[in-house]
């Protein structure tokens, strides 16, 4: 998604990215970025919370219209939860047993094979 934003921007079209993976987006280098410090999967606000969603999209527009320079990141003030412990879980190898690691490896290999099959068959989703 960061690459798409860069390509549009290089061709004269202003963009803003909404996302939850701060380091990945900034490492690529993008013009404007609204970062929500939420679990991956919630880039446009908290689920079942229209107010949070409206606030987040409005903030993205503010970033779009006011960023002074490329690499402008604004962090949404919204917090996922008072307790930040959720941030310790995602893909954290220190929290997984050897059995769980083995299970995940087998599942990853299986999904990779499926992806290969899907990719080999050209298809338009819509």
């Amino acid at each position: 998604m960061s690459l798409a934003a860069r390509h549009l921007e290089a061709n004269g079209i202003p963009t803003v990215i909404m996302g939850c993976a701060k380091d990945i987006v900034e490492y690529c280098g993008v013009p404007r970025f609204l970062f929500s410090d939420f679990p991956l999967g919630n880039p446009t606000g908290r689920p079942h919370d229209p107010q949070s969603q409206a606030f987040t999209v409005e903030l993205a527009l503010r970033v779009l219209e006011s960023a002074p320079r490329p690499r402008t990141t604004v962090q949404s003030p919204l917090r996922w939860s008072e307790d930040p412990a959720w941030k310790l879980d995602f893909s954290n190898i220190a929290r997984l047993s050897p059995e769980e690691i083995a299970r995940r490896r087998a599942e990853f290999d299986r999904q990779k094979e499926i992806a290969k099959t899907v990719r080999a068959k050209p298809q338009a989703a819509q």
Binding site: L8, T44, L61
Partner: protein
């Protein structure tokens, strides 16, 4: 008294998750050798906004995928489902409702369940902003960008295709939502 209490510091882990490091260590521990090379540039392009949002046609690009009943479990909380991935840019009519899912990407399945599409697909929110006059209008189509591990496919094929479609739509600016 710990310093963080004395000075009101937040706990050390209360910072954006270091995904680059987490993912590198994770796949190394799973037994995969060469780490993934994330896209990385020193220079960043910048196109200034030519008119205010209230006078602009705003486009939308998403990595979410249309729900397809023949592609396995894509429901809330579904395990990672590679069969639901797509590898070509698709477009949808912005004027109608869409059921887009995220089972094909690595979202946080421990702490969120993907029940509410409005948390990752803000088309209804954009329509409301257009109705309220905050933006001029929503572009006639939104576009789906494949989540492809191949940088070559993304750069050589998907990015030019997205640009062509955004230009056809005559969008003045674009919101890209990365799930």
């Amino acid at each position: 008294m710990a310093e963080e209490e004395e000075f009101g510091f937040a706990p050390e882990h209360d910072a954006p998750i270091p995904y680059l490091e987490r993912i590198r260590v994770y796949y190394q521990a799973l037994g995969y050798g060469a780490p993934y090379h994330w896209a990385h540039y020193a220079d960043v392009p910048f196109a200034p906004l030519r008119k205010p949002p209230a006078d602009s046609r705003i486009g939308l690009v998403t990595t979410a995928a249309p729900w397809r009943p023949d592609k396995g479990d894509q429901g809330p909380g579904a395990p990672y489902n590679a069969a639901a991935k797509f590898y070509t840019v698709y477009s949808g009519d912005s004027a109608v409702e869409h059921d887009l899912r995220i089972a094909h990407v690595g979202y946080d399945r421990t702490h969120t369940t993907a029940e509410d599409g409005n948390a990752w697909f803000p088309l209804p929110a954009l329509r409301r902003l257009a109705a309220a006059g905050r933006i001029g209008e929503v572009a006639p189509r939104f576009h789906g960008a494949p989540t492809n591990r191949s940088h070559r496919a993304t750069i050589d094929r998907d990015c030019p295709e997205l640009l062509a479609r955004v230009r056809e739509d005559k969008a003045d600016a674009v919101i890209l939502v990365a799930v």
